[in-house]
Amino acid sequence: MLISYNWLRQYIDLPNSISVQDIADKLKLSTVEVEKIEYQGKYLDNIVVGKVASVQRHPNADKLNVCTVEFGEKYPVQIVCGGSNVREGMLVALAGLGAKVRWHGEGELVELKKVKIRDIESYGMICASTEIGLGEMFPLKDEKEILDLTVVGEKKVGQPLAKALDLDDAIFEIDNKSLSHRPDLWGHYGIAREVGVLFKKDLKEYKTSEIKPGKGINIKIDNQTKDLCYRYMSVAVDGVVVGPSPIWLQKSLMSVGVRPINNIVDITNYITCDLGQPMHAFDASKLTVKKDKLTFVIRRAQEGEKFTTLDDKEYTFDNNVLLVADEEKAVDIGGVMGGKNSEITHETKIVVFEAANFDATNIRKTSTKYGIRSDASMRFEKGQDPHNVELAMRRAIELLLEMCPQAKVVSNVADIKNFHLYQGPIEFDLNFLTKKIGKEIDHKEVVAILYRLGFSVEEKKNVMKIKIPTWRATKDISIAEDIVEEVARIYGFGNIESQLPIFSITPPEKNELRALERKIKDLVSLEHHFAESYNYSFVSPHILKLLDLNLEEHIELDNPIAKDRPYLRRSLIPNLLENIEKNIHSFDEVRLFEIGKVFWKEEVGEREWKGSDYLLPKQDTMWGVAYSAKGDKKPFFEVSHVVTTILQRLGLECTLESSTDHMASWFHPSRFAHVEVGGVRIGYIAELHPEKQTRFGIVSQVALSEIDLNSLLLLISFKSVYHRLSEYPEVMRDVAFVVHKTVLHTDVVKEIKAVDLLIGNVELFDVFEGENLGQNKKSLAYHITYVSKEKTLETADVDKIHAKLVKLLEQKFKAEVRK
């Protein structure tokens, strides 16, 4: 929202010692977000009013014209101009050499120099409003449009533009979001009140005089929706001449970015900007007036009712939309936008003004559902003070009668009210304030702040009874904490000294899951050189289909933003596979992991609310790993190494189970293992099925793992892993043998270890497959360490056990042992 400094000064006396910047700074710290200040005329040095004397097509460019422009000197100047609307006789903003402009309203200011544009010399520039900082005042309708000064009336050619436009104002741009809970700040009067509080200046009264009812039209209001319309006021004025507004009004509107249209529309817009109370005007000749009786019916739309708004758009409404109708037809979407069928035109003679107050929520729903955002809806959806309805109507009638002295009120002053505001009083004492903010503020100062903000304070026995002003009572303020905020922000948050709280030194309860996550992240990245990826929790049906996953098993968003990712991930792997695909084209080796939550609809998690019988879906934290490297034909082993060694770091020995039950079809049928710790399944290690790998367009084989950290956490025991060192030397023997491919390493190790207690470590150091071994055969080679805790082993002892071991391998695994 734009706020004019000059406009504010109508309501408070601001001495020159208070700069525009001071006002912005204080507003920022105590009230709203001032995004910027635009000083009018700031960029207008060397820019004058010019008059286009001639326009000729540029010989070398289709979209350019060569113009001569008069600027008060003897000879006009030649300018090459690309403006789509340039024409002879037009008054324009002429920037001479040395003037500073912003090309197309963007980037830095550039000083103009004599240039040749496609071989034609140009001695300056005919400017668009945005190029000279007047974009707010003269909004562009078309990207290529130059500023047409003809709209602001006759101007002396050659006059400096700043003077011609009387540009001595400063405009504050206020972030609308920062105003969302302050309905009272949506007009200049409200902001003026706030500035007055901040600088201890008195706010002038908003003076209006009572409307004298006239005769001719009897306006009746039939409010059928008392829950949606809280006040409706209507007055008709005859003898109106529709035409341009006086210059002061046009200027005021333009300064805050509103384009003047005609006196009637301008009055309603002015009051919207002034008080924050939107208004509307109908042409009485287009309303149904029967026997001098005009009845407004305020009702819900019928299901499917069609309506065409002022801006010529047709809508089909449901019955949540509030309409204002005459006896035959709807004429206005209450609080949002008027209808085409009753708009003011140059022929309008009798104007019927509407000032009303509507339910904020319903206005917001209508405006968002149908995408109709207007200055009115924006204000009403914040909850306006119904008392402003009357002020606005009075002011509108005053202005109209001022502009059209021959006009007069020809109706009753119709006004129906149907609201109750909670104005307190709120009981408040200073101890409460001190307890909340940690600082004592002087009683007098507190009262002064509240008083200027419009609160009235009555005191009995040290307890204040604070009455809320109507403009803060619609929803903004209702409890004592709200009063604390009012006092604290005006007093200044910066004036409250900070002080650390004092607590017992009880250490915080440890979050074991987070600790586990962090430990794993460190190990997998620092020890195993993986990079951590963060993927979306959403996954696309495309990816799920590539993996032949069942879409039905996934929780689905009702309103996904990206239509391509409507499902919640059940696994981290699909998105990690996407990462692999994306990276494997640029890197020979991709090692990625992610830790994050997944969503399982078939299992239950936390309660929906304390004591509820209903539970949210389970959302375990998973650790996913994906690895692929060009040339690595068995990436499985890299990932199984990572997973098993990290589990060892956590003090856990895991077993890899080759059982393929519960194995999804997107895994390689023989390169898959369940990861178990103490018999509990915590995840899997697998290679991606080559078919799916091809579908993903990944060139090399991919290995994956996913471990459920919530399950893992329950298994961690942190038991000691230290084994007493033997004082006696170890003896190492190797054994190499050929077995059938299906023989498992874990089985071999288990059997070898069972042979004798003196067998310590059993380490696989070579695996080999080759045609010379025979079909489906492999050769395994192990280092076997023999050690005793009681004595130095004799060769004979070791030989005996080793022979036993060899025999066992031959019997159990049909091994051909190399001797």
Partner: protein
Amino acid sequence: MKQQLEKLEQEFKKSISEVNDILKLDELYQRFFSRKSGEMSEIMKNLKELSGEARKEFGKLANQVKSELEEIYTKRKGELQQHEWGNILEKECIDITQPKLSVEPKGHLHPITLVQNDLEDLFTSMGFMVLDGPELESDYYNFEAVNITATHPARDMQDTFYIKGHNQGDVSNDQSPWVMRTHTSPNQARALEKYGAPLRMIVPGRCFRNEATDARHEHTLYQVEGMVIDKDINFSHLKAVLEVVAKHLYGQETLVRFRPKYYPFVEPGVNGEVTCSLCKGSGCRVCKQSGWLEIFGAGMTHPNVIKECGLDPKEYQGFAFGFGLDRLVMLKYGIDEIRVMKSGDLKFLNQF
């Protein structure tokens, strides 16, 4: 024999003066003193031919000579070694700027993890618990419990992801609709319910907003929520705690300022700005020339939240705050494109 010994002594002394490198010196030593075939050993073999006193005397003499010669050898060896070490400047010269060839790749933690860990450690050191909660949250915890009423704009479909089959119209009255949590604030309520007061906790976590993504906006974002509740926790405490965080992040000289801002779950509500860490407050592109960076929202916990969670707001009060983690990360590393954080692109990830 005595003559043999004298000859050997002279021979050794002569040879050793001619030797110039350690290898040859050791060869020489072996030639004279090798236990099996050394010249000295040969002489000593003859010892058994002597008898009594003579044998004893000669033995003594031989040992004397041996230790004298060995001393010469050791001294010479020392000299040669000194000389050789003096040469390594040239002999063993390497290009110290050359990297080790064929190294293991490095691992990388995501920048959000790095900043999150840092904040977790800071808050833990101040006695805060680190909590988390469901990302798919009930409408109750996400909105109602934290004083966001049914008509609040935040509950519009434009801002919140709802779950199919669990929308308002789909569920019975005693069920709560499901949403993707729009902030970490539902955990204010969950934590108060579970732990009561006094409470000090933070909740780092992933949140979701139904808004179109561009260079500065993401539908998936990270927050760190914090809350302190006890009997006398007031606004000056809130200020101090957040000043600690700001100084931790941006240095001791960092200033913090608080400005009014509306959040339904606090009253008063503020947002917090710190002096721009890049320009130190003088104004630059990053802070849009203002000298200040907005990095958190905060306020005194609304009595409705405390009441809803089963505590008496007349007895307990406190504050809550929230940081946008993505923003902290982007500021810290100068990242100007938020979407790159969830791209899984190694060219990005490998930088951290």
